[in-house]
């Protein structure tokens, strides 16, 4: 079970337990929610009562039910964006690191320029041009992260590309795709893994921030970030309507980051900071 070695460190174990708990709540929540998430069932912004342990939101909807429904969007959107970022970034990084000529210089200069642009502004520019939609959000966040993935993968690949077994495969006349997939990918996997937690955390932050700004998911969706945004003015009447989703987003990102950090340590790498 060397794959789960990270879970044996105390912080890794705590982080993993927390992560499983939050993911379970987000994915299973809709099945146990007592009320429909988008129907008013009481007076707006009342505090907790017997039937409504977290009170109601600014439209009189059940906060508990909305919280139970509202985690899926963050997880799914951030997850999809992260996977897409890895597919894009790893492909670019592997080929750039393997084929270190024109492609390398070109792709990496492109990555440098992409990194000199504030990510949130990038997303807002895309939203202005393409309108607010879930697919724009996912692709945008993936495009923000892909250059970072590409850089790490390229460095790791370039280290491996000069090794004997790669040169042997080249001498055997194997195709580039086969070399990349069979010889390089397994050897750069640790470098990729060490970074996953950080990338996922960052995806969550970006997705949640855009939703918070009202430029991602639109009402009446239940989404933790959107809940905080739309209930800001009702804060003094029912603080729980802000506290519950804020605490859950915090727990989620802290858990992901802690697990990512533990994985990086178990692979013998210190984790890098989020940009």
């Amino acid at each position: 079970m060397s794959r789960l070695r990270f879970a044996r460190t105390p912080s890794g174990a705590v982080g993993l337990a927390l992560l499983i708990a939050v993911i379970a709540l987000a994915l299973l929540g809709p099945f146990v929610a007592p009320n429909p998430p988008d129907e008013p069932i009481g007076v707006p912004l009342t505090g907790p009562s017997a039937g409504l342990p977290l009170g109601t939101d600014f439209l009189g909807r059940d906060v508990l039910s909305r919280v139970l429904f509202g985690g899926r969007s963050v997880l799914v959107l951030a997850g999809a964006a992260t996977v897409l970022a890895y597919l894009l970034g790893a492909a670019v990084g592997l080929f750039a690191g393997h084929n270190r000529r024109f492609t390398d210089a070109f792709l990496m200069r492109g990555a440098d320029i992409a990194l000199s642009f504030p990510p949130l502004i990038f997303l807002l520019v895309l939203t202005t041009g393409l309108g607010t939609s879930v697919s724009v959000l996912v692709v945008g966040v993936a495009l923000v992260q892909a250059p970072l993935v590409a850089r790490i993968v390229r460095t790791a690949t370039a280290e491996q590309a000069v090794r004997g077994f790669v040169e042997a495969a080249v001498a055997r006349g194997e195709r580039t795709t086969a070399i990349v997939r069979r010889e390089l990918l397994p050897n750069v996997a640790p470098a990729i893994m060490a970074d996953v937690g950080l990338r996922f955390t960052y995806s969550i932050i970006l997705v949640a921030s855009v939703n918070f700004l009202g430029l991602g998911l639109q009402p009446p969706s239940s989404d933790w970030a959107l809940m905080i945004s739309e209930n800001r003015s009702g804060l003094d009447l029912n603080p729980l309507v802000i506290l519950a989703p804020a605490a859950l987003i915090a727990l989620l990102t802290i858990a992901v980051n802690t697990v990512g950090d533990a994985i990086a340590r178990s692979l013998g790498r210190s984790s890098v900071e989020a940009p």
Binding site: P118, P119, L124, V125, I205, I249, N257, E273
Partner: protein, 338 residues
């Protein structure tokens, strides 16, 4: 001329010019980057067929009305010409007119609309930066010299947790504590147009705290990492063996060498302040450039989005150049290898 003087001559001469060359090259590279960014911003905001004129007039506009407003806004010209116009305007400081102005039936220059917010945002960011730099150095160094002990654990754990939180979550939690619970500060920062945000400092406390929380954690961790490494270097051991007092060892030997990576991290975090301020301004309804940007995106005021985006990108790139310069000036090794 003796051999020694000749050697001194050759070592000294390439010292002053390469620095200037480095500066010029960095600025040129920055300008090229900005040009690429400007193409992206322009194309990115104008890819959809529906344009700003349509957004202003709504769905019930007649084709004649649309054509007339397009003519007024210059939207009937080819995209390349509009791009060059915009670029020329950026260079001369004329950003064009905002769509929200046209919506109200008048031509309002964008510059007039963003000038005040820009000053407000810079005030907020500067306040946060002035506090962030010394705090990250002090706390990072403190964690490093207490590495492995409880002070270090406390600082490291807190910063690892906070570094992963979205700004609006940090801000919301601060509001819950300082407004809902303690009742010390208001959750919104209203600055009347034309008034300095400093006129009412108490409403700046929460936005600045949020910005600090979001940016401090990362820089503390990096300063600590650099400092731990520097404290383990041979010259530090040597200095200790020579009997120097610990404070001298820390400040003069370790800190100076840990500073170079720290400057870059702090620059990264200043850039982050520039980006993170968008969300924080929106959260606190603070009338800054970030809130202005979000509002323009929401109503698809393309020209204003373009102008604000390019302004923020320029700031971002400028911070990077200045940081590189400071690093080169701080680290003699880099200066001579230019």
């Amino acid at each position: 001329m003796s051999a020694g003087a000749a050697a001194a001559e050759t070592t000294r001469r390439p010292r002053s010019f390469p620095l200037l060359r480095f500066v010029i090259l960095r600025i040129l590279a920055g300008l090229v980057t900005l040009l690429v960014v400007s193409v992206f911003v322009f194309v990115g905001t104008e890819v959809l067929p529906g344009d700003a004129a349509g957004a202003v007039l709504g769905k019930n506009a007649t084709p004649e009305q649309l054509a007339e407003l397009r003519g007024q806004m210059g939207l009937d010209r080819p995209a390349a010409a509009r791009y060059l116009d915009w670029l020329g305007g950026l260079v001369t400081g004329d950003l064009g007119n905002s769509a929200s102005g046209y919506a109200e039936g008048s031509a309002r220059p964008i510059w007039n609309e963003i000038e005040g917010p820009l000053v407000n945002s810079l005030t907020l960011a500067l306040l946060a930066a002035v506090l962030m730099v010394p705090l990250s150095l002090v706390l990072g160094v403190l964690a490093a010299i207490r590495a492995g002990r409880s002070a270090d654990h406390a600082i490291s754990f807190t910063s690892l947790s906070v570094v992963s939180l979205p700004e609006f979550v940090i801000g919301s939690l601060l509001i819950l504590v300082f407004f809902s619970w303690l009742g010390w500060f208001l959750p919104i920062s209203l600055v009347p147009p034309g008034e300095s945000p400093l006129a009412n400092p108490s409403q700046l406390v929460l936005p600045v705290l949020t910005l600090l929380g979001a940016s401090l954690a990362g820089s503390i961790r990096m300063v600590r990492a650099g400092m731990v490494q520097a404290l383990d270097a041979e010259y530090v051991h040597m200095a200790r063996l020579n009997g120097y007092r610990e404070r001298l060892v820390v400040v003069r030997y370790a800190l100076r060498n840990a500073l170079a990576p720290a400057v870059q991290v702090i620059a990264q975090n200043l850039q982050y302040l520039v980006g993170g301020i968008i969300v924080i301004e929106y959260l606190f309804s603070y009338p800054g450039i970030g809130k202005e940007l979000v509002d323009s995106v929401a109503i698809r005021d393309v020209r204003e989005v373009q102008s604000i985006a390019i302004l923020i990108a320029a700031l971002y790139i400028a911070i990077n150049i200045v940081a590189d310069l400071i690093v080169v000036l701080l680290v003699p090794k880099l200066r001579t290898s230019l």
